[in-house]
Symmetry: C2
Subunit: 402 residues, 2 copies
């Protein structure tokens, strides 16, 4: 396993030149916007970040009224390469089935924006980027950020585009947390909101799984107390274990059974050893070993921490309804029956709060055995739900059909 | 964290002197039986183990007819210290609430035996014990064992006691797998069987979680390819991560929420750092760090592997009913509603097979939010179920009341 594999040529940055490579000497492809030191980003932890960079991609065209923009928020290990070949892995974008011409998020009709979250490792400022004050990677000196901080950074980009009101803010998992935070913090900026397979707070079990991942990373001597970049090391084994543990939570027991069961990997019988005898072992090891090629260990620590800290009710006097009082945003929530990471009950709690705030809200639970990952997979009923919601909102917004 | 903390004085061994210390120079307390080289133990992997040691404890008195013996089988990280202070941790035995005078497994009435499983690290032969052929710890040269191998070793001890028919074989989780294996392989030796919170095969999800634990151990450089004992090292950080990941699976989401929720650990607000801000993090870290004082990393690899390999139907022509055809053993199966590691559906699959074999079987699903660990906790309905089953079997067996 090596460090980031970059294509020989990278698309030109649209905004300012990159100041925040993920590693010294490496400039990631894609668009980015640099905010200078005079425009600091105040963070929940009490410090301000300046300068900082928001890396992003866009799809489709912003209309003259700037009324057709959809902000898509990515999940924990996602990034801004929503609907195009990933520059590191060479794989399709993570929502290429959803975002594109004629698709659910129809880029012939809508202007889709996705930012790499603050704290991430695909170009936005995070622990792997250079602290301009020291010329060294931030590492653990990077401030601990929150979901709200991620949203604040996104707002700056939305302002840059001159968009007063996003047509929709949409995302699954941690992306859904950002959607809820947008709707609660900047309700006048969200015409509609689409939180998918998410929760208004991280549960004890959610925190527990994240803590296992963090401990796996920190247990790796190559982590070097977070200073691995300076020391020319990479905590790949710890990060791979973290990914493996997390990956199990993205799938349902039924999906694992259907996909792998107890099938053996390229052998007739068990080896009576510790090789990957079972397909599910081989699959998990692959998930771990490929993940480390595209993700930074400290970014994993920071982003999981942001999720753990997320508790929207706590930000609003411990009553979730307060987060949404007086909102005019139109909501559609989607959950999946076999999602045990962010189960329907957590999504329903948000619906109850929205109902208590007399909000415009619909809620659909999709029957599937695919677990949490269902929001990334081919689920026709899910696609139809989202498309229907967007069509309805577009009609209210007066957006013409393509 | 240090190596095994042993009390200054240890109980005298009842059988032969110990030949299988967990680490050179350390002799664990308790009873053990050494089988000499002329009495090898044939293993499923095709090799034979000789000599070998079975460490065990007993409670109560074997009656003259040798008809009142209950073999209790321990779970993955359990051991033979069922109902007495643990010699390393100083904590109560893991089933002290169940086993004792006047308790569910009434030692005024029954003779309770528990062996440390083959492959374990509390005195029975396993990877941490000395290979007499080399004078060095077995490490990864120890043969990979199965649940059936564990049962074969237990049978030797039962033979040593001259017990033709165990009154009952009982155990939860991996202990329940041993119970099923006993009933399938030595039906004439089991008057009754009590498999609790278990399964007749390890599911893909079960294997996946075990593989994460093994990879966490193997990722620790102190593991030294399994040779850490020779090199005077201990892969404590990897083993702790393995324990943390596994521990989450022992608890239900509801139990974690009830016990910890999002409560903070000794602080008013989050630290914006990577300390254990949340109680659940502190709890998990404690589970990890205390585990390494009492468990051996290679034993963890071997025992998890034995569970993964367990597939009772596969041992019987891929039809579970074949495992039980003609059985006269009386069965009682118990599952717990919130157990997602070995859910009711897996236990029910065993009941269906037993019914198809026209076996004498009862099945109780206990309503609890405590998850898989419920079989180790105070659950009055569970205790009553077991006691009722044992009383009924005792009547059929002609065992007098105490």
């Amino acid at each position: 396993m090596t460090s980031f594999h970059l294509p020989a040529t990278t698309p030109a940055a649209e905004a300012l030149p990159a100041v925040a490579p993920v590693a010294p000497g490496i400039v990631l492809p894609g668009k980015r916007l640099d905010f200078p030191a005079r425009e600091p980003l105040p963070l929940d932890c009490g410090v301000s970040l300046a300068p900082f960079t928001v890396a992003y991609q866009t799809y489709g065209t912003l209309n003259a009224a700037k009324s057709n923009a959809i902000l898509v928020c990515h999940a924990l290990t996602g990034d801004q390469f929503v609907a195009e070949t990933h520059p590191i892995t060479g794989k399709p974008g993570w929502w290429e089935t959803m975002v594109g011409p004629g698709l659910t998020f129809d880029t012939d009709r809508y202007f889709v924006i996705c930012t790499n979250v603050l704290g991430g490792c695909m170009g936005s400022t995070g622990p792997a980027t250079i602290n301009p004050a020291t010329g060294q990677p931030w590492g653990l000196s990077f401030p601990v950020i929150t979901i709200r901080d991620m949203v604040r950074a996104q707002l700056r980009l939305v302002d840059y585009f001159g968009i007063d009101s996003l047509f929709c803010v949409a995302g699954g998992s941690m992306g859904g947390m950002q959607v809820l935070e947008w709707a609660a913090t900047y309700p006048e900026r969200c015409f509609s909101a689409l939180p998918i397979a998410t929760a208004a707070r991280h549960s004890a079990q959610n925190i527990a799984f994240h803590e296992v991942g963090r401990q796996a990373i920190m247990a790796d001597p190559e982590w070097c107390n977070g200073e691995y970049q300076r020391q020319g090391k990479r905590p790949e084994r710890g990060l791979a274990v973290a990914r493996m543990a997390a990956h199990i939570t993205y799938l349902s027991e039924a999906a694992l059974h259907r996909k792998f069961g107890r099938s053996l990997q390229d052998r007739e019988r068990v080896s009576f050893g510790f090789d990957a005898d079972f397909q599910v072992e081989s699959y998990l090891r692959h998930q771990g070993s490929t993940f480390v090629d595209r993700f930074d260990a400290n970014a994993y620590l920071y982003i999981t921490r942001a999720c753990d800290y997320f508790d929207l009710a706590a930000e609003h006097g411990d009553a979730l309804v307060n987060a949404f009082r007086g909102t005019r945003t139109r909501f559609c929530l989607v959950s999946f029956t076999s999602d045990w990471l962010y189960p329907t009950s957590e999504n329903r709690a948000v619906v109850h709060a929205l109902n208590a705030a007399a909000a415009n809200v619909s809620f659909v639970e999709i029957a599937t055995d695919k677990g949490h990952d269902a929001f990334l997979l081919e689920e026709p009923e899910f696609f139809a739900t989202v498309e229907g919601f967007l069509n309805g909102c577009a009609e209210h917004r007066g957006l013409s059909k393509p």
